[in-house]
């Protein structure tokens, strides 16, 4: 005969002579009691064992019972106080006795009702007497309580009445437990003598098991399905990259085309084409990463250089002034790590990258820019800039507002505020403020505006272009709640942070 491992163990541990409890079998087989119970019932169905149930009563003291077992019964305390007050000689005022007994609250009523019942004396018209012959030390209830508290439970018939009384007083509870005992049947003994093989329990479903048909007879071992499994070192897309993908999805959905271009670029494309005067503070050495090698771009489009210089110096037509700042082509040819990705916009707008662009058009990039800031929780030397622009005839400030409201709403940022601002290359210009979804704080979330005519005319654009930019890291911090930008980006990365970062979608 073949039986599963747990049933074999129970069968072998059980005896034909005397019934063995489930707990005893569990200990003998080193199986959990629930497994033994399950196996015993299976075996009973096969007729190999008999499972008998018996109900045991055990007595447990209630909290009140425990209290009296330690401190004595309240009626005994009352009797002792009455004796002390001389109530064995003449009736004493009840108030005085109760006061002396130290009894309070419910205990007073309990003491009074049991006092008379036990014949410790009488209570009449507010006065109490004590029977000098009563023997509280021989109180059966008190003794039984003490004995129960010590764990000594007699089966004496005499006690039954006392125990019933204590149960009525709520000092103890009678608890019923069902115990199952297992004994071998004759058939069980016979089978055991004949030898029983253990049915194989299998851990894994194997190809062999499936093809041989063996799966029909085997038992599958139970797993602890609640236990934690070993950690998997899975790959994840970098949390900031997930954010950048999301931004790209949103912008593509809004009809924007992606731009690409050099990280190391001429100041001409980074600043001069943006109508940034050459002596603008942001163009000084301390804010930018200028290149040592190579130091200058080989070639710039001649006509564009001439047009940009003209507008810087003279402005556009009679009603426009240029800057009262020096302009030098050599300065414009100097190479630097781009301080903003607007250099891509100037390259695209000029026709340099993909030829002339006809309106309407929308373009974007989510690319790296470099700025010589102090590294701290909100600033990095390298960061991702989201850059976008829309080119169309007669764009208004309202179009700009509508576009950005639409964009930020995709990230849960509603109620954008537009703060009039100044940029050398846009007019009007706005700083965008939004309410942090969790903290409720008003924070700057971008910079925007309509490109100046002085910027667009040399680039050969004769319609309106509105643009905006913001740091991807800032948006990521806003939407993920990250507090230190350095966790998000760079060679200082902590793998644990990246492995546990919440997925962005």
């Amino acid at each position: 005969m073949q039986l599963p491992e747990s049933q074999v163990a129970v069968l072998e541990a059980a005896s034909a002579d005397e019934a063995t409890s489930i707990d005893a079998l569990a200990e003998a087989t080193d199986l959990p009691p629930e497994t033994v119970t399950g196996a015993a019932f299976e075996l009973e169905e096969e007729g190999l064992v008999e499972v008998s149930e018996r109900v045991d009563e055990t007595i447990e003291l209630t909290d009140e019972g425990h209290e009296y077992a330690t401190d004595g019964l309240p009626e005994v305390a009352l009797y002792e106080a009455a004796l002390e007050a001389g109530a064995d000689e003449e009736p004493v005022s009840m108030g005085q006795v109760i006061g002396q007994s130290g009894l309070e609250g419910d205990a007073v009523d309990i003491a009074l009702s049991n006092y008379a019942r036990k014949g410790y004396g009488s209570i009449d018209s507010g006065e109490i007497t004590a029977d000098p012959d009563a023997e509280p030390t021989a109180d059966a209830e008190a003794n039984a309580l003490e004995a129960l508290a010590d764990g000594a439970v007699g089966t004496d018939d005499d006690l039954e009445e006392v125990i019933d009384q204590l149960e009525r007083r709520g000092l103890l509870e009678v608890v019923e437990t069902t115990t199952r005992d297992v004994a071998l049947t004759d058939e069980g003994v016979t089978e055991l003598m004949g030898g029983i093989e253990t049915t194989e329990t299998v851990g894994a479903v194997t190809p062999d098991l499936l093809t041989s048909g063996e799966w029909e007879t085997v038992e599958f071992a139970d797993y602890n399905v609640e236990a934690d499994a070993e950690d998997v070192e899975s790959g994840t897309v970098h949390v900031l990259r997930q954010m950048s993908e999301r931004v790209k999805d949103v912008l593509v959905g809004m009809g924007f085309q992606e731009m690409d271009g050099p990280h190391v670029d001429a100041d001409f494309w980074i600043n001069d084409c943006l109508f940034m005067p050459q002596d603008h503070p942001a163009r000084t050495h301390w804010d930018r990463f200028a290149m040592e090698e190579p130091s200058h771009i080989d070639e710039l489009p001649d006509q564009l250089v001439a047009d940009v210089e003209r507008v810087h110096r003279e402005g556009l037509g009679e009603d426009s002034e240029g800057y009262h700042s020096p302009w030098d082509e050599e300065f414009a040819r100097a190479l630097a790590l781009r301080g903003h990705t607007t250099s891509l916009s100037t390259r695209y707008l000029s026709g340099e990258e993909i030829g002339e662009i006809e309106p309407p058009a929308r373009f974007f990039s989510v690319e790296k820019a470099y700025r010589n800031d102090t590294l701290d929780a909100t600033h990095l030397l390298e960061f991702y800039q989201i850059e976008g622009w829309v080119m169309a005839e007669d764009l208004s400030v309202r179009d700009l507002m509508g576009t950005f409201e639409e964009f930020y709403a995709q990230f849960g940022i509603e109620d954008i505020q537009f703060k009039p601002h100044y940029n050398p290359y846009t007019e009007p210009s706005f700083e965008l403020f939004g309410t942090h979804p969790t903290t409720g704080e008003l924070i700057e979330i971008g910079n925007s505006g309509i490109f100046r005519e002085e910027m667009l005319e040399p680039l050969g654009v004769d319609c309106d272009v509105m643009a905006w930019g913001l740091a991807l890291e800032r948006l990521a911090m806003l939407t993920t709640g990250a507090e230190d930008i350095r966790d998000l980006h760079g060679t200082l990365a902590d793998l644990e942070f990246l492995r546990n970062a919440e997925v962005t979608y």
Binding site: M291, E293, D399, S429, A493
Partner: protein
């Protein structure tokens, strides 16, 4: 962005709005584009502002703007000036790079501690912004009563702007007790040291003289003799610089601020070798602004009277006129303290601010365009997704690195034939020794991340599709910028085969032929290194990282790695 400190009580005094609470003021200032950043120790508002409205660099200017904002002032106001008494004569000895000077006499000033502080702040803020840290324009303000000008020219007292040899004369500078030569000031005086670079190249230093001698050494420091105090009643303001327009505008801003305090402005004559100027130049400018352009930019219909009203509330004045095409235009008068109005569009911005941009209803532009990703960005994304599927943690490292990390710690010689050893693109005058160049390959970054995470659990399989750069004469910028696919596998039993298996899978996914003929590379163990050859082109390297490189990075587990050009996957 620059900040300016404004005492709210003074602001209330100057705007005549005693009843405004601090919070109401903050809201009104935000509306002007002045953002409340906090309070100074003295309780003044610290306001951040965009550097266009430099006429708001003092409490007087902010108050003027607020009065327009409230509608208490309208139109353009130009303070009247008295005719010139003093002359500044410019000598030929002045340094050729710093030839310009301007100035004004201010009479009947009533300076208390607050207004003197405000004047000093205005001077500092103008230096920091328009003055380009005094390089383009520098301000000197003097107590006029301490000056003695000889009546050389037609009876007018005269001040002289000259060039003086560094050791040729002496004066007592501010915050000093002894006579010093200009050279000694640059050497020994703290302010002199700060601004020494502005003049140290000159053969002769800029200097201003009266009859009593040298009293100012622009753009570095004034003399102590003419120091302004709360007792000063008449002031002499001089500005020197590299551009006449710039210093004239700086002067206008200072004159407006002092006139707002009740002072009287008096012209001076500036006498150059071949021409004379009367300063300050408080003349207005005019811009022609088409009505239609105002409407298209703001996106709303406007009544001409409303436009004129908006202009006056902005401190401008607008008159209707007919444009060249017979269209409605406005001749808009710009006051002399405005330095930011370069183009009619700047006027439209003012009108929009006066209207209240936040009053405008946003609308989504009704133009259809087709969106799409750049090919490179699609390729990067597809490759990244495959790498992650193969179990790699995707990284995003800095592009800037230093020579030691990029080359030496991986035993690679710059410019050698080894993969990743291109000539470095270097950063000029570096700020941090950690960032001196752009990385030529991503392997160094990946090893740095492994190095910083030895306390984290293994295996650590890391990858990056990253930017790299190297010198390349054939590019217009002189730099070849490439994306590399880099991967490292670090675990107690990582080996060549683990790396090869994943590279193989990746190449299969992109349907390219992979060959790995043996090669030598200093970063990897000899005999366990191969070239990555994709579709017949050598594009990368694969191997087990050399123990010397591992130990250098404090790694105690083997690392197998590969890196190749992403371009190899492009069809």
């Amino acid at each position: 962005m620059p900040t300016v400190d404004i005492d709210p009580d003074e602001l209330r005094d100057l705007t005549g709005t005693e009843e405004k609470s601090d919070d109401e003021l903050k809201d009104d200032l935000f509306g002007l584009g002045l953002e409340f950043e906090g309070r100074t120790e003295d309780g003044a508002f610290e306001l951040e502002f965009a550097p266009d409205r430099l006429d708001r660099l003092s409490v007087e200017g902010v108050a003027r703007s607020l009065r327009y904002h409230y509608g208490d002032s309208r139109g353009v106001h130009v303070p009247s000036t008295n005719s010139a008494d003093w002359t500044i004569e410019v000598d030929e000895s002045v340094p050729a790079d710093r030839p310009y000077v301007t100035g004004a006499v201010i009479r009947d000033v009533d300076l208390d501690e607050e207004s003197l502080d405000s004047l000093i702040q205005l001077q500092e803020k103008l230096h920091a912004t328009m003055g380009r840290k005094r390089a383009k324009g520098a301000i000197g303000i003097h107590d006029l009563t301490m000056l003695k000008g000889s009546a050389a020219t037609e009876g007018n007292p005269t001040i002289e702007y000259v060039g003086v040899e560094p050791e040729a004369d002496t004066f007592v500078p501010l915050d000093a007790d002894a006579e010093m030569t200009p050279a000694e000031v640059l050497e020994d005086h703290p302010t002199g040291q700060t601004y020494a670079d502005l003049v140290s190249e000159y053969e002769r230093y800029p200097a201003i003289y009266d009859d009593l001698g040298l009293f100012s050494f622009p753009p570095v420091i004034n003399g102590r003799r003419t120091e302004v105090s709360t007792d000063s009643r008449d002031l002499f303001v001089e500005m020197t610089g590299t551009d006449q327009w710039t210093i004239d505008k700086m002067l206008n801003i200072v004159c407006y601020a002092l006139a707002a305090r009740g002072a009287t402005i008096e012209d001076i004559e500036v006498s150059y070798k071949d021409h004379d100027l009367v300063r300050p130049d408080l003349s207005t400018k005019t811009k022609t602004v088409p009505h239609e352009r105002i409407e298209t930019i703001l996106g709303i219909d406007l009544d001409p009277d409303e436009v004129i009203d908006l202009a006056e509330r902005s401190g401008l004045e607008a008159e209707r006129n007919e444009g060249e095409a017979g269209n409605l235009v406005y001749e808009v008068t710009i006051p002399p303290y405005r330095v930011d109005v370069l183009h009619p569009l700047d006027v439209i911005d003012d009108l929009g601010r006066a209207y209240g941009f936040n009053e405008l209803e946003p609308c989504y532009p009704d133009v259809g365009t087709v969106g799409g990703r750049h090919e490179r960005s699609r390729l990067e994304r597809a490759t990244r997704e495959q790498l992650v599927g193969l179990g790699f943690e995707d990284l995003l490292n800095f592009h800037m690195i230093n020579e030691a990390e990029n080359f030496e710690r991986l035993d690679v010689a710059p410019g050698s034939d080894a993969y990743g050893a291109g000539e470095p693109t270097t950063i000029k005058e570096v700020y941090s020794e950690d960032y001196t160049m752009l990385r030529t390959w991503v392997m160094p970054s990946l090893l740095m991340v492994l190095e910083r995470n030895t306390h984290r659990s293994y295996p650590q399989y890391l990858s990056e599709i990253g930017f790299t750069a190297r010198l390349d004469d054939s590019e217009n910028t002189g730099v070849s910028e490439n994306r590399h696919v880099g991967a490292v596998l670090a675990s107690h039993d990582a080996g060549y085969e683990d790396a090869k298996a994943r590279l193989q899978a990746l190449c299969r996914q992109f349907d390219v032929d992979l060959e790995t003929p043996p090669t030598e590379h200093p970063t990897f163990i000899s005999g366990r290194t191969a070239s990555v050859v994709i579709d017949g082109e050598e594009v990368g390297v694969i191997g087990e990282v050399h123990p010397a490189v591992l130990v250098e990075h404090d790694l105690e587990v083997p690392v197998a790695a590969f890196e190749f050009d992403l371009e190899a996957f492009r069809e």
